[in-house]
C-alpha cells in the first residue's frame, strides 16, 4: 500500500553487494518508505541490486527507477519485476524513462513514446496473465505468450520519469507516479500535477520529486558538495523547469566547464537560490524543511539521491537519524 506521502532514497548501482544490504537495512530500520535504484547506463542493473535489498528487508518498497526500453525487451522487464515482486512479497515497483546516453550504444531513440507505450502494454499484459497478445510499433508479443511463473501481483505499480508534457500525459493514463528526476523545487509539483491533470482519470498519478541530497552539519560544505554533484546535468534540468528563469549564459558556462571535467568549478557558478531547486542540501534541519515543503506542495513522494552526504555512509546516517524524523514531525 502506498501511504499518503512517502520519503525515499535513491542510488545508482556502483557498490558491492554487502553495501546494499547495509544501506537497505539501515534505511528500512529508520523508517524510509522506498528505495529506488537507478538504471543509468553502465551502472549495475537495478533488479540485481534490489534483489539483494529484498532479501534483507520486509517493509520498504523497492523500485527500479528506471528501465529504459532500449537495452532490455519488455519481456525481460516483466520477468525481472515479476520475480522481484514475488521475492519481496509485493513491494516492487518499476519506472520507465526515455533513457539517457543511449548514443553511446549507437541506439536510435527516435520514438521514445512508442517504446514506452509498448513496454507498458506488454509488461502489464504479462503480469496480468493476459494472453491475447500485443502488436505495437516497436515491440510485440504473440497471442499465447505468458510468464512461466505466477506473479505475486497482477499489477505492479508503474512510475514514469519525465519532465515532458507529452510523456506526462501518457503517465496520466498509465502510471501510478510521475517523477521529475533531478528536481527539488516545490513549485514544480503543481506544474507536473497540471500536466497530468487534464488527462488523468480516477487514478491520478502521484508526483515524485527526486534530487541529489547532501546533508551535513556544515551547511556550506554540504552545499559545495551538492553544487559539484548537480553541475554535470544542471544545464539539462535547469532548462526543463518552467518556474524559474535562468540566464542562458550561466547554463552555457556550467556546461562548458563540466564538459572539460571541471565539475567543482562549474558547480560554483550555481547561485544558492537556484541550487535549492535542484538539490536537497544543507544541515539536517535545512534538508528536512526543504523536503517537507515539497510534500506540502502536494508531492506524494520525495526522494533523496546519492551522494547523500560528504561521504555516502555519513549522509545515510544523517538522513536516517536526523532528517527523516524532522520531516515526519513537520508533516
Amino acid at each position: 500500500m502506498i501511504a499518503d506521502h512517502e520519503v525515499g532514497i535513491g542510488l545508482a548501482g556502483s557498490l558491492h553487494p554487502q553495501e546494499y544490504r547495509d544501506i537497505a537495512q539501515r534505511a528500512e530500520h529508520a523508517g524510509f518508505d522506498a528505495i529506488t535504484v537507478f538504471g543509468d547506463l553502465m551502472f549495475t542493473p537495478p533488479a540485481m541490486v534490489l534483489h539483494t535489498m529484498a532479501c534483507v528487508t520486509k517493509a520498504v518498497r523497492l523500485g527500479v527507477a528506471a528501465y529504459s526500453p532500449w537495452t532490455q525487451h519488455p519481456v525481460e522487464i516483466a520477468s525481472q519485476i515479476g520475480y522481484l515482486d514475488r521475492l519481496s512479497h509485493g513491494r516492487a515497483f518499476y519506472g520507465l524513462v526515455r533513457g539517457a546516453w543511449m548514443e553511446r550504444l549507437a541506439i536510435n531513440q527516435d520514438r521514445p513514446l512508442t517504446a514506452i507505450k509498448d513496454t507498458v502494454a506488454i509488461v502489464s499484459a504479462l503480469l496480468a496473465g493476459d494472453e491475447s497478445g500485443y502488436r505495437g510499433d516497436m515491440f510485440g508479443i504473440q497471442a499465447g505468450t505468458r510468464l512461466s511463473f505466477e506473479p505475486f501481483r497482477s499489477r505492479v505499480p508503474l512510475l514514469i520519469g519525465s519532465w515532458s508534457p507529452r510523456l506526462a500525459r501518457i503517465a496520466a493514463q498509465l502510471a501510478d507516479e510521475l517523477q521529475a528526476g533531478g528536481c527539488a523545487n516545490p513549485a514544480m509539483v503543481a506544474v507536473l500535477d497540471d500536466m497530468v491533470g487534464r488527462d488523468a482519470g480516477t487514478r491520478k498519478p502521484g508526483i515524485c520529486l527526486n534530487a541529489v541530497a547532501v546533508v551535513d552539519q556544515e551547511r556550506d560544505a554540504a552545499r559545495a558538495a551538492a553544487r559539484t554533484a548537480v553541475a554535470p546535468y544542471f544545464d539539462v534540468v535547469a532548462g526543463l523547469d518552467p518556474t524559474i528563469d535562468i540566464d542562458p549564459e550561466l547554463l552555457t558556462k556550467v556546461h562548458e566547464l563540466c564538459a572539460a571535467g571541471a565539475f567543482e568549478e562549474g558547480g560554483r557558478l550555481i547561485p544558492d537560490d537556484v541550487l535549492r531547486r535542484f538539490a536537497f542540501c544543507g544541515t539536517p534541519a535545512d534538508v528536512a524543511e526543504h523536503a517537507a515543503a515539497v510534500l506540502d506542495a502536494g508531492a506524494r513522494r520525495v526522494e533523496f539521491d546519492t551522494p547523500f552526504g560528504l561521504t555516502p555512509a555519513r549522509g545515510i546516517e544523517l538522513l536516517c537519524d536526523e532528517v527523516l524524523g524532522r520531516i515526519r514531525a513537520a508533516m
Binding site: A12, L15, P17, M48, V75, S79, R86, L87, L105, R146
Partner: protein
C-alpha cells in the same frame, strides 16, 4: 576420461524465489559442481534465480545457461554477470545461444551469429576494463564507455550453446565450454570436438581448450519404465526439433511428422510414446539410477567434461534430485568418474 569431469544440473526458473536457496544448498551438498539456469523466453531471469542461489552456497558454479543476444543488450548482460560474480565470490559464468521461439516477439533474428559475436565481444571488453569501444553489426559501444560498478574478475568464463558447426567454430575461438543442449548421445562428442577444433586452430588455441558439455532432460526413478515414460513426454517437444540436428542419427522423417501433428494439438504424452527406446537414450538421461549412471559414464568416456542433468530430474523434481545426488553420482564416483577440484 574418468577424472576431472563435472557434475551439473540445469533447469528453467519457475519456482517461488524463496525455494532456490534451499535447493542450491542441497545441490551443493549432494556434490554437484555446477548449476545452470536456463534463459528461455518467459522463464524467470536466470541472473536473479542465480542471485537467490549464490548466498546459500560456497562452491557450486552458477551459470546463466543461456542468454540470447536479442532481449538484453550486452551492457545489461555485463552488468548482471559482474554483480552475480561478486555475489558468488567469482563463481558465475555466462552462457549464450542464438535463441529460440523469438518469433513470439516478432524479432528478426536473422543476424544471430553477428549478435552473438557482438555480445561476447562487448561483455568481455567491458569486464576487462577496456576503453576501446566496439563497433559491431548489431551492437556497438562508444570508446570510453566503462562500467561504473566494481568488477571482480576481468574475465568471466564463457559457454556457447549450439549444435551448429559455425557457432561451434566461434566457441572454439572464444569460449571455455560448448554446450550441446538436449543431447545425451556420446557419439555427438567427437562431432562437436571436430567443429570446435576449427575455431581453436584459427585462434591458435591449444586443441581441447574448449570443454564439451552435454545437457538433456533427466528422469531418474527406481521404476525405470516409469522414468522413461515421463522422459518421453518431457522430451517430445524439443526432440521434434533437435532430432534433426544430430548428425550421427538417422531419424525417420515420418516419425517426426507424426509427432509434429500430435504436438500441434498439445498431445505431448502421445507424441512422446512414438520415440523408440534406443532414440530416447540419445536425447534424455532416463531410467533407474544404475541405468542413468551407465548412460552418463558412456558420455564422459566419449570426452565430455560435464553432463548437466536437466529438469524434471525425476517423477517429482525433489525425488529426482535426491536420486541423482545419492545414487547416480556415487555410482559414477565409485567407477572413477571424479569431479575436478576447482
Amino acid at each position: 576420461m574418468s577424472a576431472g569431469i563435472e557434475f551439473g544440473v540445469g533447469f528453467g526458473g519457475t519456482l517461488p524465489p524463496s525455494d532456490y536457496a534451499e535447493l542450491a544448498a542441497r545441490l551443493e551438498e549432494l556434490g554437484f559442481g555446477v548449476v545452470t539456469v536456463f534463459g528461455d523466453l518467459m522463464m524467470q531471469p536466470p541472473a536473479l534465480v542465480l542471485a537467490s542461489m549464490a548466498g546459500a552456497t560456497d562452491r557450486i558454479k552458477l551459470g546463466v545457461g543461456c542468454y540470447t543476444p536479442w532481449t538484453l543488450h550486452p551492457v545489461e548482460i555485463a552488468g548482471q554477470l559482474a554483480y552475480l560474480d561478486h555475489l558468488s565470490g567469482g563463481r558465475a559464468f555466462m552462457g549464450i545461444v542464438r535463441g529460440a521461439w523469438l518469433d513470439q516477439l516478432f524479432l528478426d533474428t536473422s543476424r544471430s551469429l553477428a549478435a552473438v559475436t557482438d555480445t561476447v565481444a562487448i561483455v568481455q571488453m567491458l569486464l576487462a576494463g577496456s576503453t576501446d569501444g566496439y563497433e559491431g553489426q548489431v551492437y556497438s559501444v562508444a570508446p570510453g564507455t566503462t562500467p561504473m560498478y566494481p568488477v571482480l574478475r576481468p574475465r568471466i568464463p564463457l559457454m556457447v550453446g549450439t549444435w551448429s558447426p559455425r557457432l561451434a567454430e566461434f566457441a572454439g575461438a572464444h569460449a571455455d565450454q560448448i554446450q550441446v543442449g538436449g543431447c545425451a548421445n556420446p557419439a555427438m562428442a567427437p562431432v562437436v570436438k571436430e567443429f570446435v577444433a576449427v575455431g581453436e586452430q584459427a585462434a591458435e588455441r591449444t586443441p581441447g581448450s574448449v570443454d564439451i558439455v552435454l545437457t538433456a532432460v533427466t528422469v531418474v526413478d527406481d521404476d525405470g519404465d516409469a522414468a522413461r515414460a515421463r522422459a518421453r513426454t518431457e522430451v517430445a517437444l524439443p526432440f521434434q526439433v533437435i532430432a534433426g540436428f544430430d548428425r550421427t542419427l538417422d531419424v525417420d522423417p515420418e516419425l517426426l511428422d507424426k509427432m509434429a501433428a500430435l504436438l500441434r494439438s498439445h498431445e505431448y504424452e502421445q507424441a512422446g510414446r512414438l520415440i523408440p527406446d534406443d532414440l530416447l537414450d540419445k536425447f534424455t538421461f532416463a531410467g533407474t539410477p544404475e541405468e542413468v549412471a551407465s548412460q552418463a559414464a558412456a558420455v564422459y568416456d566419449a570426452g565430455v567434461r560435464r553432463i548437466e542433468f536437466d529438469s524434471p530430474f525425476g517423477l517429482t523434481p525433489a525425488r529426482g534430485v535426491e536420486l541423482l545426488g545419492t545414487r547416480v553420482l556415487p555410482l559414477l564416483r565409485g567407477a572413477g568418474y571424479q569431479p575436478r577440484i576447482s
